[in-house]
Symmetry: D2
């Protein structure tokens, strides 16, 4: 197929406020993710909250195969109109990868229907992601375990629908577990939630995590060229005899 | 357990407009469903669109174990505030049974995250519901096949998330199939979508359909008395050593 | 419904060889489990490997609603004929609860189709079971977390089919996670795999674990009284016109 | 990736006995399937029941990415040793596509754990396959409906585990429905059951059916290069402090 077009969306607030987030991701998390996806050979654009329409105009989304979503402190500032636009495109076949604190984004909550709530604790614990479904495309080339040395804990119960496919489960040093790699089909689109990542830890620099993210983009592209007919339909002629 | 409290919600417009709907359900579909559920020994209330707060005040819902939903022509008139109230209660453990044209209700679309669209045709065709999961509680006492002599066709693709449990699949005379009995867990609550039913056909008078509906209410009651703690948590003392 | 009939099956070898297993379960693990289920009001029988037909004659199984399975060191000594008999009854609607090292039993492997292999380590680690699906009947009355102070570790990847419902996930002190409460429907029967338990730890004395086991029995009873017709069938007369 | 290696297995008895099967598939069904897969650019071999080891020696299977299985009248003649060999390779990552009457093959029943029984009737009815999951790779380029003009009916209940992904559902003229495109993950391998096909109907000549089969092969290839460590493991050094 032709080159996959990825749009990396970032709230991009933390990294401009000085402090640890700016030290860790001085150009913004989107820049690090964009470099990652470019190195995989994808055609990459970025978009951020403070651009007009949050950088997600109809034109931009129309040209996007897979959208990745990073947000944290300003979920409420994302306009409902843009959320609905993104949702329609997901249902029409655009892939969506929701990262870490994006679990509380409007778009993820809207697609899941649930609160998407969870337990959390930021103590820089060790996290181990275990591969549950080794034959899944998102686990391709991934070892049976990924160790993230310093992570924010996200713990169960994670209030989401049971994933269509559970690819990774995480262990945290302090005593919790988490469904950290969850696949969903919604409409004609595919959604992947991936827990690792934090604005003050260099998790997106870790090669194993980059491998997963690259796989996830490839998985999320939907080859749907089917035209489903909804609404009123006639009885097929051959059944009318 | 104590008596199950069911609230039967009905749009109740068609049946007051004269014509076939009034002939078929002169007191409203909710009355027929209420009688059904009373005969099963449940404690039943009804609520309709044109009552204040659509009859679904916080007090009413607080006292409801399972809510059944019938709507068709006036989905848009249901206030968003009431929809959100119902959704919160479902996520907190209230059961929800969505009937036939309720597939397009705000509450169902909100909980599913998708368009919930489908094909349809109202030609009074024969429908056959086949039991796919005979050991499911909702199939208890149900034969391997239920024939509905005169039905409105609903056809795939039904744009919903893959059900957590698929209990019934339907065949329609004119050539279509449908996932007509779909179970979902959302939050701490359970949702059942059941396709049969129409305002001008006496489908809810049919004993096999009544059996399924009674089973569905019993299944949808959640015994959740668990208090899930969301948000920030500490490391358990024994892991801090 | 009438009283649930439970048959508790135990390999019953370890506990007769002296040492820790005998100290922990002097009368056999089956005796402790039988007491548990009797206290729940079930009608309980026990059966062990060294009885004729391993105590699982056609008559015994015919009178069993739910069979619980504990085996460890002598899986290979279970006769294939008895395994097949049990499997047929599960497919016909008998519930099956597979405990801990029973993951490697012939009957579980036969029903799953996979190797059912896993990682393990017996260092007496702390285990935490987290409830993933709080509205599931097996989680009824269970807290969001069960702590087992001293446990044998079972770790992912657990080579089983993705469970139809995942109720519990476990965390182990040493770094692993496990899908420790897995529900499956097979034929007209229900199967629950539950990880906790060990022949030298008093895990089945723990009230929370007993609560889960009692719930699991109630869930595993299938009310199936449906007669599915398999094989060649005719076209229904009304479709022949 | 490098060229996908497909082995097409056929019982190849019907087609040598004269009559309709020989007329429809004079060189054997495997020849038609082999041509199909070659035209997709795959590297294709065939194997049949009456060859030594049924043509499925360890060497042949070792060199197979995806195995397709057609059997009907002689399931019992397939040696258990070969079935077990195939099963091990599936669990280690080989894809398996089971066609039509292969539902009753030893290998499919062994991987599913259930009876795999169903209803059937061979009256040359019209079949309609409806796409339930349009974003699935196996539905790529497939229309929302495939009409098979003359088919053997297979009807629910199909006694298999609930599929991990349900891609197609079938409607039959005579009144039945069927889950006709079912995906399963087992071990590190992927299994697809596809209902269409019959030894006396030219269904595998139909372009839409060929499209599905080509997609299914591509889907069934597992990129698993992960080495899962099973058995006893030590606590990771960093957790021992």
């Amino acid at each position: 197929m032709s080159q996959i077009r990825v749009t990396v969306w970032n709230e991009f607030r933390h990294e401009r406020e000085g402090g640890e987030a700016e030290e860790c991701y001085p150009e913004g998390i989107h820049t690090v993710l964009a470099e990652l996806f470019e190195s995989e050979g994808f055609d990459v654009e970025t978009a951020t909250l403070d651009e007009p329409e949050h950088g997600l105009s109809e034109d931009v989304i129309e040209e996007t195969d897979v959208l990745t979503w990073w947000g944290h402190a300003a979920h409420d500032e994302v306009a409902d109109e843009v959320v609905e636009r993104v949702r329609q495109h997901v249902l029409d076949g655009m892939g969506l990868i929701v990262l870490h604190s994006g679990h509380f984004s409007k778009i993820f909550k809207r697609l899941m229907g649930t609160t998407c709530d969870l337990k959390w604790r930021n103590e820089g614990e060790r996290e181990r992601l275990w591969t549950v479904e080794p034959s899944h495309p998102i686990a391709k080339g991934v070892d049976e375990q990924i160790v993230v040395p310093t992570a924010e804990m996200y713990g169960e119960r994670f209030d989401v629908p049971a994933p269509d496919e559970l690819v990774f489960m995480s262990w945290f040093e302090g005593g919790e577990v988490f469904r950290s790699g969850c696949c969903y089909r919604r409409g004609s689109g595919r959604v992947f939630y991936f827990q690792p990542g934090h604005e003050t830890y260099p998790i997106y620099q870790q090669p194993e995590i980059r491998q997963v993210l690259g796989n996830a983009v490839e998985w999320a592209v939907s080859d749907d060229n089917q035209r489903t007919e909804y609404g009123e339909v006639a009885i097929p002629p051959e059944e009318c005899e």
